[in-house]
Amino acid sequence: MVQQLPALLIIVPLLTALVVAMASWISPRLCLPLTFSGLALSLAASIGVLMEVIAHGPVTYTMGGWNAPMGIVYVIDYLSSPILVVITSVAILNLISARKSVEESFPGKTGAFYSLYILFTTGMIGIVATGDAFNLYVLLEIAALTGYSLIGLGNDRAPLASLNYLFIGTIGASFYLLGVGYLYIATGTLNMADLARFMPQMADNSMVLFAFIICMTGLFIKMALFPMHGWLPNAYSFSSTAATGVIAPLTTKVMIYAMIRVGLYVFTPAYIFNTLHMSKAIVWVAIAAIVMGSLLALAQKSLLKMLTYIIVAEVGYMVGGFFLGNRMGITGATLHIINDAAMTLCLFMAAGAISYKLKDDSFASMKGLFRKMPVTMIGFGAGALAVIGIPPTCGFFSKWYLITGGMEAGQYGFVAALLFSSLVNAVLFFRIFEIAHFEPFADPHDHHHHGHSETVNEAPLSMVVPLLVVAAALIVLGIYSGDIVTKIIQSAIPAGIV
């Protein structure tokens, strides 16, 4: 059974999605339990694989019994296994949290929603687990298509935002496909490990150089690296919170994972960091992303929009960290994938609960929210602290590695950008806290004595409990980040990188 886990991890959700799609026409009541159990099984499988990887090293699974490079293999190693757990847990937590708002927003289509939701998760799992460059493209498109449709059914402006996302996403994915094609005609193979084997003798091959440029450009577009971020804010803020809750934490992060995977295990670190002289330039792009993301976030007047620009800045963190090209930087980028997924999930879940209750997400509507929804705001606060980077939340530790990496690489611009964005984040969130805490201004003479009778407006339990779980996870991830780094991430980074 253990050796089948890598397949079950992704096949179970796929089968579930199909069964849910059928069940929605026969007995809609079954959809939610089915969805939940499918994702739960997948989560269990991902945890099992993680244990297996920690205990015995990377796991390889040949699809159809064909060995690489003939067939498609799944390679679950130190890099992918933690991300898999993150994906499945994010999906399941957001599912619980989003249940109420799904039933409200998509009457008669909940089955289709759940089915698309699982397919999206399946795509994400596949991108992470696959060891085949072309298979990655197919799964990328599954995740993208489901993403477009989930985003497209939001408020009035969602379809146009989603259509723009679709155009840009298609360009990005096609660029990636083209890059894979270039690699294919240069080497004749599609398997990642096999491609990496060819790299040393391809160091001055212009096809490979162009493949690198175009692959990375494609992934940069998909992950919304500034200045290619244009699609993200609208797409994420106009869609339903049930959908954003899973798309926002995962899409960009998984794309960054894909970048790291393709960078480290296809083009090899020796090629990108030593042969090419682009990493410095890309780090500067990342710096621009961090600074601009933070500044644009400052200019926003609604919660979701602000969060989306924070995502843009966070993408800069990870891209910059990776292209620092040293162990610390890559460790930071990888750890930040995990942490940022948790942080973003926490914030978007809180935002989901808030907009579920208020039907609005402008700052102005958040007055007095600490009194009305104290528990939600505690969760939101935890997420905010993590984004700012306050210990012992996880955000502090990944930022720590990133800054250390920046200092080691002598990229003080990157260090300054990280600190700057931390400060801006502090301003951003405390602005919200102030509004939620102070307004409407209490009359100084009216020292009312209500105790806790004001918690009546709290979001439903199904939203609050997962939110608190994620909030607690932020701290747990922070406390155990030492273990995560030494036991998992350090082994994920090729030995050549110091």
């Binding site: 089948q4 059928m22 159809g64 008669g108 599954i142 059914l153 004749g188």
Partner: protein, 277 residues
């Protein structure tokens, strides 16, 4: 925007062409792409799966896992169109058109007006873009559809030996129904092949594919390793692969057919499933 576009396009194009000059020549049989992996596929297809059509073997066996997701993509698209567009209209749509068959008079019935009885022989519900002279079209299509479907089945079944397979056959099957819908009208087509059928059949097709793979997994082999099905088919490993490929091709055909029809229904009527092309 036009100028930006032009500049981007020219720069991109120039770069791409510049780098393309290092690529292998067109039709070069000695490039790495042709000499590294593909010889294995070509030389082992008969031995491994007993299927002469190498594309079919690679598609459904060596890289069968990709193809499963390809089918899933199709299904996803159908589901996405449904999710985005489908809406249940109230019983009284804005306006409907009826044709009084004996006289040929067309009636436009406004919202809330009294509608003719459902099974009325005299009044025929027509689309707003209805054209009366459709006798030739209707009958030709009626004649052709059967042949299209027969050919589609041949394409599905004969994918092992000639160009063809599940996708091509599925598209042909789907197009036959779409042709029916175009030549008659959407409502009549939905009556024969309704939305629920297409939705379930689409999922079922993918399920057939994934289920075959899962069956292999249950039988102890790796996912999609059709060799494990040998005891069920009572055949050699190679023949089991061949049969396995047929199973998944049928699944693909179902899925593609159903989804094509489903997408057509949703797109052509903007999700109302009432009037359409």
């Amino acid at each position: 925007m036009k100028i930006t576009g032009l500049v981007t396009v020219i720069i991109c194009g120039a770069l791409l062409i510049f780098y393309a000059m290092d690529f292998p020549d067109f039709g070069d049989g000695t490039s790495p792409a042709s000499t590294y992996l593909s010889p294995y596929f070509i030389e082992h297809t008969i031995e491994d799966a007993n299927v002469p059509n190498i594309v079919t073997t690679v598609l459904a066996d060596y890289r069968g896992y990709d193809t499963m997701y390809e089918t899933t993509v199709v299904f996803t698209a159908g589901l996405a169109c449904f999710f985005l567009l489908r809406r249940k209209e109230s019983q009284n749509p804005p306006a409907r058109f009826y044709r009084h068959t004996p006289t040929g008079i067309t009636l436009r019935i406004e919202e809330g007006g009294k509608l003719p009885a459902e099974g009325s022989k005299v009044f025929m519900r027509i689309d707003s873009l209805w054209a009366p002279d459709s006798l030739i079209i209707k009958n030709t299509c009626r004649l052709v559809i059967a042949f299209i479907q027969l050919f589609a089945l041949y394409v599905v079944a004969h994918g092992h030996h000639s160009p063809g397979g599940g996708f091509q056959g599925g598209v042909l099957l789907g197009s036959s129904i779409i042709l029916f819908a175009i030549s008659n009208d959407l409502r009549r087509s939905i009556k024969r092949f309704n939305e629920k059928t297409s939705a379930i059949l689409g999922a079922l097709g993918v399920l057939l594919y994934a289920g075959t793979g899962f069956l292999c997994l249950l039988l102890g082999a790796h996912f999609l390793n059709y060799k494990a099905l040998a005891p069920i088919f009572r055949s050699t490993a190679a023949m089991a692969r061949s049969h396995g490929i047929l199973c998944v091709e049928i699944g693909v055909a179902f899925a593609v057919m159903a989804v094509m029809i489903w997408i057509y229904y949703n797109l052509s009527s903007a999700g109302k499933h009432d009037e359409g092309l």
